[in-house]
Amino acid sequence: MTHEQYMESAAPYALGALDPAERATFEAHLAGCAECREAIAAYREVAGALAQSAPPVVPRNAAALRDRIVRNAQRVRPIGVVLRPSRNGGQPRVVASSVAGAASRRVPWVIAALSLAAAAMFAFVYRAERNRAVGLRSELASARAARAHDDSVLAAFVGPEVHVVSLAAASEKPTVRVFWNHTRNTFIVTASGLPPAPAGKTYQLWALRKGQVPLPMGTFVANPAGQTMTTLAVSTAINDGGFIDDCALTIEPIGGSPQPTESPRLIGSWRHVD
């Protein structure tokens, strides 16, 4: 195919209107053709302008949608963001492998065509300040909530009614401890040096009483550093059976098993906290 014939495909390509086979052929040509790449860029700008022809529709709840977008982002690290130590040896800082700071050679008419651009600039500054304030407030709120949670966890584990079990293997690591407040029927598992469970698997704890089948005590996962502090969802039936003799740890399919599917990785006996 000649370059002129390829150029015929530039507009449909920019609109995504080529069938897969032709798209692949065109992209192969594109890799070595600056003129076609330039044409594509211009057509993509036209497509961007076309988006503005859609009739304005007011979202049902624009603020909620914005929150959802920002909150989702807070849970995902963008591509290319890496932590590097700062030059003066202080705290690591977030850096990006982006060239976005380079001077803009954007197609000029697009900027002008956007009647919102000038107004938006002013709004950006205002909103950035407002958002910073909102962000600080929500950080403070979550810090308070985290502290309240820690306090209630602590309260559950101070007192004579608390038992603890340390689960150990022959080697030193990992360390798993389970705390049991039997008047509150609360179990908390803490761990360090625990390797991540295999894909599709999770850790599960079992309550063992002599002469009885193991009772499931709930599942948990560890963070990448092998640590956890997890409040277990444990059925009240466990408390009703009186003192638990031992506690065992297995690896089970996600969601947990009604009965262990393997022999215990770790096992330990309960004792009172003194």
Partner: protein, 174 residues
């Protein structure tokens, strides 16, 4: 200013994504609604598009493409993905077809297109159909559809002058 927002996003500043939404959220929502025709799908598409913008901000080069073109292409992709292709091919599904309007420069530019040009452009941009699908849909030859798409895009490209104003052109073309 916009490249600073993208740079801040690439550096992991989630509030910069909020600023991007403040700037383009309403265009994004209008587009997503035009394609999906439903609020729930439009919301999901906009959220998915901004999530993708967040994820890939570091790889986006503001010197090559405008932020508007980038964001709207992500929204269009996400919104089209929410409507099954079979449904987009049929007439039972009615896209919210934008009428050319004199209130925006692109609306005025659309007004300079012929009816067949507008029709194929709409089937392509808002329904995401390929040239061959559009040809089948309209009962036209594919090469004619491609010619219409190309001329429509070229006309739009030149209808908006470098200063961003629409050139004075006759509304009906020869």
């Amino acid at each position: 200013m916009q490249s600073e927002i993208i740079a801040a996003m690439a550096a992991g500043d989630a509030e910069a994504l909020g600023a991007l939404y403040d700037a383009y959220g309403s265009i994004a929502y209008g587009l997503a609604y035009a394609i999906t025709g439903a609020h729930a799908s439009a919301e999901s598409a906009v959220a998915a598009a901004f999530a993708e913008a967040w994820r890939t901000a570091a790889t986006f080069d503001t010197s090559r493409l405008s932020v508007l073109a980038w964001v709207t292409s992500l929204v269009r992709q996400a919104a089209l993905a929410a409507v099954p292709r079979e449904r987009r091919r049929t007439d039972q599904w009615v896209a919210v077809v934008p009428a050319p309007t004199a209130s925006t420069s692109v609306g005025r530019a659309l007004g300079t297109l012929t009816e067949p040009q507008r029709r194929v452009l709409e089937l392509s941009y808002f329904r995401g159909l390929s040239a061959s699908e559009i040809a089948a849909h309209l009962g036209e030859r594919e090469r004619d559809v491609r010619e219409l798409l190309k001329s429509a895009m070229n006309d739009l490209r030149s209808a908006v002058s470098p200063t961003g104003t629409v050139e004075e052109r006759p509304v009906t073309r020869a």
